[in-house]
């Protein structure tokens, strides 16, 4: 009994000792401040990039307005349509004919069927020439992804006329540059020192190119066009 009482007294004494003698460690001021900050956060601070947003938006808007204002006066790349591409390819082909083309009038009758067969463009009739101009060559060609036929004429003055026929059902010819020649209204152009006459015939795109560029020569070129156009009837074979 006495031992139990002693132990209880000891327990009480230890408890009192702990309460009275054990140092307490209050929270340091820095910890208190940190906890208060975490418990009662102030108004959220804006992130640094938010500060740059208004001037950035302003700068972008100003740049956009200036661009819209200046854009019309900036040189713009010309929009090249497919007719233009074919025309340029024909000019390149014509230039080759002028410089390196051969006059093979004697073999044209034999060359034509082969050209028709390989080009996919048939000819019901073809203008083979008269006193002013004559067909000197016929061969298959390939322009801007289109297989076609190329006929070369040579006039009495030694001018070469290249006549190219390619499938062109989806090629739209511009209204600008159209000229009434006889009963047709083809597009007539001068490009890089050459003359061009372009027209649509059924589902085919036909282009004639020549170095007849002066007014007088252009008149002759138009006459050749009338001869060719009225006496040639191409069609798509396949």
């Amino acid at each position: 009994m006495a031992n139990e009482r002693d132990e209880r007294e000891d327990d009480g004494r230890i408890g009192r000792l702990l309460r009275e003698r054990l140092p307490r460690h209050p929270a340091p001021a820095a910890l208190r401040a940190a906890v208060v900050e975490s418990l009662f956060p102030g108004p959220a601070r804006q992130p640094w990039w938010m500060l740059w947003m208004p001037p950035a938006f302003s700068a972008v808007a100003t740049a956009l307005v200036m661009l819209l204002w200046i854009a019309p006066s900036l040189p713009s790349a010309p929009i090249i349509d497919s007719a233009q591409l074919v025309a340029r390819a024909v000019l390149a082909e014509h230039a080759r004919n002028v410089f390196w083309g051969e006059s093979r009038a004697d073999v044209v009758p034999a060359a034509l069927p082969r050209a028709i067969e390989e080009s996919g463009v048939g000819l019901n009739w073809v203008f083979t020439g008269d006193d002013d101009i004559r067909l000197v060559d016929a061969k298959p060609t390939y322009l801007e992804g289109r297989r076609g036929i190329e006929l070369s004429y040579l006039d009495v003055a030694g001018h070469t006329v290249t006549y190219v026929i390619v499938p062109g059902g989806n090629v739209a010819l511009p209204e600008r540059g159209r000229v009434q020649i006889d009963r047709w209204r083809p597009v007539v152009r001068k490009e890089n020192g050459f003359s061009l006459i372009m027209w649509r015939q059924q589902a085919l795109l036909c282009v004639m190119a020549s170095d007849l560029v002066s007014d007088e020569d252009l008149g002759r070129f138009k006459e050749y066009f009338v001869k060719v156009r009225s006496s040639t009837e191409p069609y798509v074979v396949y």
């Binding site: 054990l22 929270a27 906890v35 975490s38």
Partner: protein
């Protein structure tokens, strides 16, 4: 309980939480980290606190669980301070309240003796005797029956008595 009121009340227990944290971690900066983590968790799980129950006990419970989760592993390792003396035998703080040398010596002895107790004996002893919590609250914090708490406190005192022979 309104959120703001809850925060205000939670803040009132800061000193008590820090005191327990010091005796659990035996390291000033770790104690501060532990207290901050305790508040972060308390705010995160404030919706789980049942109004009308003991907020102080709930905060102690969070603190102890956080300690067990993040700090206990280190305590299991044999902690040796730089001078080669086991940390449990070294005074925890050198800036303890300045009193007369006899009293300071008593503090040191008491702290050393307390530090020798394992956490499962030290915590219920501190909560019950120093913080004055009811045994039921201590049992909830320790996640064990009240009988176990009584037993641990008894054994903790018994061991302390052994360490503090001067106070017998």
């Amino acid at each position: 309980m309104a959120d703001d009121e809850f925060r205000q009340q939670a803040l009132q227990h800061l000193d008590a939480l820090h005191n327990l944290a010091v005796y659990l971690t035996r390291n000033g900066s770790e104690a501060e980290d532990l207290v901050q983590e305790t508040y972060v968790r308390a705010m995160r799980f404030s919706h789980r606190f049942q109004p009308g129950t003991h907020l102080r006990a709930w905060l102690f419970q969070i603190l102890r669980n956080t300690f067990l989760t993040f700090y206990r592993l280190r305590e299991r390792e044999a902690a040796i301070s730089e001078d080669g003396v086991p940390e449990s035998e070294a005074p925890m703080f050198h800036d303890a309240p300045s009193q007369d040398s006899e009293s300071a010596g008593a503090h040191m002895d008491l702290e050393r003796a307390l530090a020798k107790l394992t956490e499962e004996f030290r915590t219920p002893l501190l909560l019950a005797e120093v913080e004055g919590l009811a045994l039921e609250d201590v049992a909830r914090i320790m996640d064990c029956p009240v009988g176990t708490v009584k037993s641990r406190i008894f054994r903790a005192k018994e061991r302390l008595r052994g360490y503090l022979t001067d106070y017998k």
